[in-house]
Amino acid sequence: MSTPLEAPKKKDPQKRSTVPTLPPLGRSRAALGLTVAAAEGRFALQHCAECGTVQYPPRDACGHCLSCDLVWRDTETGGVVIAETRIHASPDPYFRERLPWRMGTVKLDAGPIALAHLHGDVARGDRVRLALHLDKAAQGVIVALPVERTDAMEDDPLMRSLTAHPRHRRVLITDARAPVTLPLIQALQKAGAAHVFVGEAESWRRWPGRDAIAALENVSIMPLDVTDADSLQSLAGEIGGKTDILVNTARFVRPGGVLGSDTVFARDEMEVNVLGLMRLAQAFGPSMAARTADGANSAAAFVNILSAHALSPDPAFGAFAASQAAARSLSQTLRAEFHQSGLRMMNVYVGPIDDEWHQPLPPPKVAPQALARSIVEGLVEGREEVFCGDVARDLAERWRHDPGILERELTGGGA
């Protein structure tokens, strides 16, 4: 079993925060396939389309038949550790700070040999379950895990470095009024979050559900309006240095296409969904990025919730979909900026949520509780691309397969 992580002591304000360092970042183009799979929590390796040989390390031609037709496919996760070591000396600054470091040689059931990080509960001779995780450099790495769950396995220092687990972390949820917020607070607290800050815009406006949130322990409602840069700066001044995970639940949505819709609503959608994200990132991003190596409650993830129609629009929500596409694009730039610090940018793609604005739509719709579960699961697993619900998963699958056909299907073609 792993040693359960203890709650961190109050930080000494006179002590310098550890400057984040990153593990080796360089990868070949082929190896980026590991990172893509890791971001989604899949274990995928290259398979030869001609002879079926599974390849590792990633390459440009099959090591068995020389075919250049190599395809990334989900791969069986079993393997055996055939050698292990504990590294006591490394010239790399990131690993030097974390010595000794365990790694080993794993013979995969799928065929190839992988050097892998070893979870503390596995050793030479053990059967293991392999997983791809994003490391602090946001690159995919192979981890050998116990086949069966072990006690406190997520508290293993290796796993802490590969995930954004909420345990002992402090979370800011940006919009108290969003239907997902209450179930999200509950799910985060169940996962061990130390404190949850919840943002509230226009606090003079009464709304149902406020009392339920205000009554929760270790939860503080704070003034926050993503359309108001000043309110964000002042809140960041107060809690920016102790925000470890930020979940942006602020969202403005109105139905309607382009021709018949009011640009006032479209402007609000851009203000909240796009520029709101940008303001949030500007207010909280730098202080979070500086605190990614700050012990058990280090900053870990910036979470953004996107409609799956960010990938391809639903004409019934035309301007909203445009705001989601714009927000997705911003998130990708932010991701590149955050990666220099080890802070994770997690996008949670979701289908229609079962809320007032999707009321006339037929099911399947995503219950706020299900969205909350997906967010926490993404943090616990350390993902960067999370697809919540059948609609989002299906849409993403079709989008990966052929974005052109998906567009035509969504805009009225295809039976």
């Binding site: 390390p57 050698a83 006591h88």
Partner: protein, 389 residues
Amino acid sequence: MNRRAYDGAVLTAPVTIPYQRYSQETAHWWIARGLRAVLDRAGMSPRELDGFSVSSFSLFPDTPVGLTQHLGLTIRYLDTIPMGGASGVAAARRAARAVQAGDVDVVACVAGDANRIDSFRRLLSSFSRFSMDAVYPYGYGGPNANFALLTDAYMAEYGATREDFGRIAVAQRDNALRYPHALMKKPLTMEQYLAARPVADPVALFDCVMPCAGAEAFLVMREDEAERRGLAFARLDGTIERHNAFPDDPIQLRGGWAMDVDELYAMADCGPDDIDLLQTYDDYPVISMMQMEDLGFCAKGEGPAFVRAHDLTVTGDFPHNTSGGQLSVGQAGAAGGYLGLVEALRQVTGEAGPTQVEGAGRALVSGFGMINYDRGVCSAAAIISGVTS
């Protein structure tokens, strides 16, 4: 098909440029010194030289092509051997064929590398694509971690102990105390070996080589040319070379030698019992032990018993890595792949001085190189026998 002998081509003029732990000089400087020294030994001017074979990791942005101009060589045979620890044997066997065929008269084979502060770390960081993608992100232990895994698997499979590997390291240090160019000057006891600080379990400090700067060189020429110049020389009785052997072995417990060893002895018309001294590539003791097995001195898995039963020092019954090997002399980059061959040339021509093995007539030299991913890819070996004039 029987391999054709290397009749008529010989190796001569072994040269070592004394190593330095750190040096501000460049690979060009070290190679120039090696080349100059090897030509001086043969009484040749650079103008007379028509062949050049180079091994180096730190010539960037130059290649050996750039070296021809930098060093003022006008040559008709130019080779570059990027095989790390297998470079010496590979350079010799290629040069010998070219000399034998008349494509070239004299080839100067030179390996040399610089070692400035931090240059080893930078060399590691650009070593290979598989390393970049699939090794460095896992703790960045460098070759120490790779060989720790091989050592761990070998110990588990064959019951070797740390003390067995210690015998190799301790005997080599004993040899190194006789060798004036060794960087390690202090005796090493088994207690010290076993108590050394861990580097990557089960590998500890005295299992690892010390990166340094230096150069090694020798000449390949026709036998009559060597005689005309009054040089002692060695014949190349047999060689083998193999890359990426046994790719289906899940972990490296044997090297390419095991594939080709019969051919090596058949070509040299001798067997392991006829070998007077062995020079293995010793980046880590486990690899030396593997070479003893794979080159037929004992069966697979009997390496531990073999080193317990033999005295591996210069005066022992199984002289091994007589100058101290890389473990005690230092690893001067690609020159590490020449160290064993250059020392063996000195031995079989009676020029080894303080490390001279009595009656050393025939030596086996083996090379091992390039951890591209999880194992050493290149292996090579040569049997040489000396002719003293």
